[in-house]
Symmetry: C2
Subunit: 169 residues, 2 copies
């Protein structure tokens, strides 16, 4: 199936999805965060078909989230190591983990995030580093940035008009 | 293509992907966060084929992220409104937005998150609500939770062994 190239959209979420918007890509990253680096390790962990795994690993390398490194010449073997861009995805993953634990784990969490030093269970929450405030859907909203195109500006303008307090005369 | 049912995996990330792990689903949620509710609005915003949009909206309703509400009887018309579960996904979206802005917006951000009251641009960062610490890949890690199965425990045990300091004799 032909799909839209999200990178042609200016939305940063659409552009992110161009690189990780695929079930397997995100699960490969999850495993990479857990220290897996080799093709066979990913394959065993995910139960994914080799040609599909190969395709997803290549895409993650092309997107700059993983780096391919030759670790054996005979036989030729590569490993896949997270780049800075790949490591920076971890907060997204943890935010997703917290959401999954809250909404799709009726039997209790099977995976949690802990502080490495103390082992204390963390409660991941998104905070504005500038103001220190927890970011909720009532206190924060998206807005056009400096590089916004006309579509992005129009979309936000329409929403601002919708949510403006009604004026009754 | 037949794909794995991620819900049979115990990993909360895999379970989340069962519900949102699809480009269109996440973009539909993005639009819903911006106040879109009607089929035609989503279609115009996304340029998605009607049958595909219909399928993705139904899936989001089944997953409990959107609620279908009849707003017109003649002609019959439904709108799609975010549930609490859907709204709770917004931090994941914002974390993804921040990652996209950092890594895939060479021309500068086209969308930012702002504080609703002041309009001040936010810098979204994941924080442990319990300790107040920013969650980085060096200071936090995932660990088996109370409902972890044998596979999850084994995976974490292997990683713990790998990352243990080397003992030189």
């Amino acid at each position: 199936m032909q799909r839209t190239r999200f990178s042609s959209m200016s939305c940063p979420i659409a552009r992110s999805l161009e690189h990780v918007g695929e079930w397997w890509s995100i699960l490969i990253l999850r495993d990479a965060f857990q220290g897996l680096t080799q093709f066979d390790q990913f394959q065993k962990s995910l139960g994914i078909a080799p040609n599909m795994l190969s395709r997803r690993l290549n895409a993650l390398v092309e997107s700059g989230l993983l780096e391919r490194r030759r670790y054996s010449e005979r036989p030729p073997r590569d490993e896949y190591v997270l780049t800075e861009r790949g490591r920076d995805f971890r907060p997204v993953m943890w935010a997703m983990l917290a959401w999954g634990n809250k909404h799709f784990a009726p039997e209790g969490p099977s995976v949690v995030v802990v502080e490495a030093e103390t082992g204390a269970v963390a409660d991941p929450v998104l905070v504005d580093r500038n103001s220190g405030k927890v970011m909720t859907h009532t206190t924060f909203r998206s807005a056009p940035g400096p590089a916004a195109d006309a579509t992005t500006r129009a979309r936000h303008a329409r929403r601002a008009a919708q949510s403006a307090p009604e004026v009754r005369t």
